[in-house]
């Protein structure tokens, strides 16, 4: 691994990696049964420097921002390195958002450059870009003859001369990552080069990379986990990243064996899917084979209780490990809470699930379960360099989780008010409720903030989806996380609830219900509200007529219970 303490920026560290492992493979891209490309570090560097030269000739200067709007693929990482080489700030955007949401974040981030895949550009190019500061748009994989609406082809983009490496300081911004705010107040986390270098140095010893180690990248690369696990970590260790252009479960399964994957980051939904597939296969075994499997699982469980013993597990449960390619070291699970019984299922098979707790504001991982011993009931202990504290704990020790470390973001972009509320005296207030047990393990037991996290790892804030209910024929409405109204000590199955204050003369359960269903359908499935409640009092509001959400939530929680929610 590179000694990251020697580097001032991600760009400088990546440049060293390219020199050091020039002839090693760093990227493999596959589409269904066909491999599309395989690049060495040298080829990766050459491709990126061509783009960097073009960007510099188009006036892209250190500190300027460049947004990336692509699914997981090789050009994502090539473009990112080109931006860092120029001293630019990367703005990784979620390709699953709508064109309107993309436009809002492009405007908010003041990006001068956009690097975008053709299918996304086809929809986005119809937009009015007057609120943005875009000067250069590069489109990847555009078909021959396609009208690019003034954008340039990524594949043909290059400069006349050579590109020039522009150095940055550790405290300079490396990325602006949006953790929410597509519908209202954007939360653009400004993460510095130091944040990333420190985070990588802290977690690399837990999941090391080396030439030949391979990471399968399926979580969107704009997500902090994939950016770290599927870019910064493998590249600083000489490893390789495998991208799949089709994320169907059968192709993911095939990639494990074809590419002998070492690590993959997943969200709980994918882990559950893998568990379901394995359980179905076990159920189809003959009674004798199933008894044998159960016996081997039992032996493995006992043998790995105090610490993982990967080689032993690979021998004992050879067929299971072969299905994962035989080289898998760990599945990194993140983005949302994983149920302990799922963790136990994989642990019993000797497949390590690196479970932990983190957030974008702290540059990915805060705590990690080291499995020494295996504790499915906790999120592990703080990673190196991370200080953890519980603020205002109750008699049961539960309070808000706060973090202090060199990985905590600099600030929220252009929002000093929100930054001051979130980072207090150097401590990042996470908005999550938890406690630290006697052995230093963190347990999460709910949220203080009004939001939910889905099994797909998506953070949904009520303010971001309320616009779909605008101009409803009711007096007023508001969306809440159900657990914000009725606190529960759980982090799974979280749902959103719409609160409707209708005129007493309105038939709220008749005409309005149909309208609510129609509006709800406009949202992507994971963003929908699960039901609605009828409220008969005026919402408390500030002088500027903003809803006082916490007071309203308290009133609702006091007067109604969960049975008042009518499912949609």
């Amino acid at each position: 691994m590179l000694d990251l303490s020697q580097y001032e920026s991600l760009g400088a560290a990546l440049r060293s990696a390219i020199e050091r492992w020039a002839e090693e493979v760093c990227l493999i891209e596959s589409d269904r049964e066909q491999e599309r490309c395989r690049l060495t570090y040298r080829q990766f560097g050459d491709a990126a420097l061509r783009v960097a030269a073009g960007l510099q000739e188009n006036g892209f200067a250190p500190g300027d921002r460049a947004a990336i709007l692509m699914s997981n693929q090789s050009k994502w990482l090539i473009s990112a390195y080109a931006v860092f080489f120029c001293g630019g700030v990367l703005v990784p955007l979620d390709y699953k958002l709508t064109p309107g949401e993309h436009l809002a974040l492009l405007a908010h981030s003041k990006s001068r450059v956009l690097i975008v895949e053709y299918p996304i550009w086809r929809a986005l190019s119809q937009s009015d870009f007057s609120a943005t500061r875009l000067e250069t748009t590069l489109v990847t994989e555009a078909p021959a003859g396609a009208d690019l609406a003034g954008a340039k082809r990524w594949e043909e983009f290059r400069g006349e001369g050579a590109s020039e490496f522009r150095s940055r300081k550790r405290q300079d911004a490396a990325c602006i990552v949006y953790s929410s705010g597509t519908g209202g107040r954007p939360k653009g986390c400004v993460l510095t080069h130091e944040n990333y270098l420190e985070q990588c140095a802290a977690v690399f010893p837990l999941w090391p990379f080396w030439p030949g180690a391979r990471y399968l990248s399926i979580i969107p690369t704009n997500h902090a986990i994939d950016f770290m696990g599927g870019f910064v970590m493998p590249f600083t260790g000489g490893g390789a990243v495998v991208h799949l252009r089709t994320l169907r479960p059968e192709y993911i399964r095939e990639a494990f064996t074809r590419y002998k994957i070492t690590y993959m980051a997943v969200v709980p939904l994918i882990l559950k899917n893998l568990e379901r597939g394995l359980r179905e296969r076990f159920a189809a075994l003959s009674p004798i084979k199933r008894r044998l499997l159960n016996a081997l699982v039992h032996v493995n469980r006992v043998a790995t209780r105090r610490r993982p013993r990967l080689q032993l597990s690979r021998v004992l449960l050879k067929d299971v490990h072969q299905a994962f390619g035989g080289e898998l070291r760990a599945l990194l699970v993140g983005g949302a809470f994983t149920e302990p019984k799922t963790l136990e299922f994989f642990h019993d098979l000797g497949i390590q699930i690196a479970n932990g707790y983190g957030c974008t504001e702290a540059c990915t991982a805060i705590t990690v379960n080291d499995m020494k011993p295996f504790r499915p009931d906790t999120l592990g202990k703080p990673v190196t360099g991370m200080q953890l504290r519980i603020i205002n704990p109750g008699t049961d020790g539960v309070g808000e989780v706060a973090v202090r470390s060199k990985t905590v973001m600099s600030h929220y972009l252009d929002d000093p008010g929100l930054t001051a509320e979130t980072i207090v005296d150097g401590w990042l207030l996470t908005g999550d409720l938890g406690k630290i047990d006697a052995s230093g393990h963190l347990q999460l037991l709910g949220r203080k903030k009004n939001m939910i996290v889905t099994a797909e790892g998506e953070n949904i804030y009520p303010e971001d989806i309320e616009n779909v209910f605008e101009s409803l024929p009711v007096k007023e409405f508001c969306v809440f996380a159900a657990n914000y109204l009725w606190p529960q000590r759980t982090m799974t199955g979280e749902q959103l609830v719409l609160v409707v204050h209708a005129d007493p003369t309105q038939n709220a359960n008749g005409a309005i219900r149909g309208e609510l269903e129609r509006r709800n359908q406009r949202l992507l499935p994971y963003k929908r509200v699960s039901g609605y409640i009828l409220w008969s009092e005026d919402f408390p509001r500030t002088a500027s007529l903003k809803i006082k959400r916490s007071i309203l939530a308290e009133q609702i929680g006091r007067q109604l219970d969960r049975s008042a929610v009518q499912p949609l």
Binding site: R245, T246, L247, P249, E456, Y526
Partner: protein, 80 residues
């Protein structure tokens, strides 16, 4: 060449068989996530099944954000 109606009908039939629910309970305008009670990964299973049936390839971006049978049918129809 199939009509859009025929394509839609075949999709509804396949979805009903794959997820073992009566065909008459499905309509073209239905949201398949809600009606079939499936998550995004199970939806991808259905897409793969449909690709095999129609002998086409649907890139992931073509089905991104599609939630109802009718829109899905039009995306498939465009590739027949």
């Amino acid at each position: 060449m199939k009509t859009l109606e025929q394509t839609t009908e075949e999709i509804l039939g396949l979805a009903a068989r794959h997820f073992k629910i009566p065909r008459e309970e499905l309509a073209p305008s239905d949201d398949f996530y809600k009606k079939l009670k499936i998550d995004s990964l199970r939806a991808l299973e259905l897409i793969t099944r449909l690709e095999h049936h129609f002998g086409i390839e649907l890139p992931d971006y073509e089905v991104q954000g599609v939630t109802d049978f009718r829109t899905l049918a039009s995306r498939i129809q465009a590739r027949l």
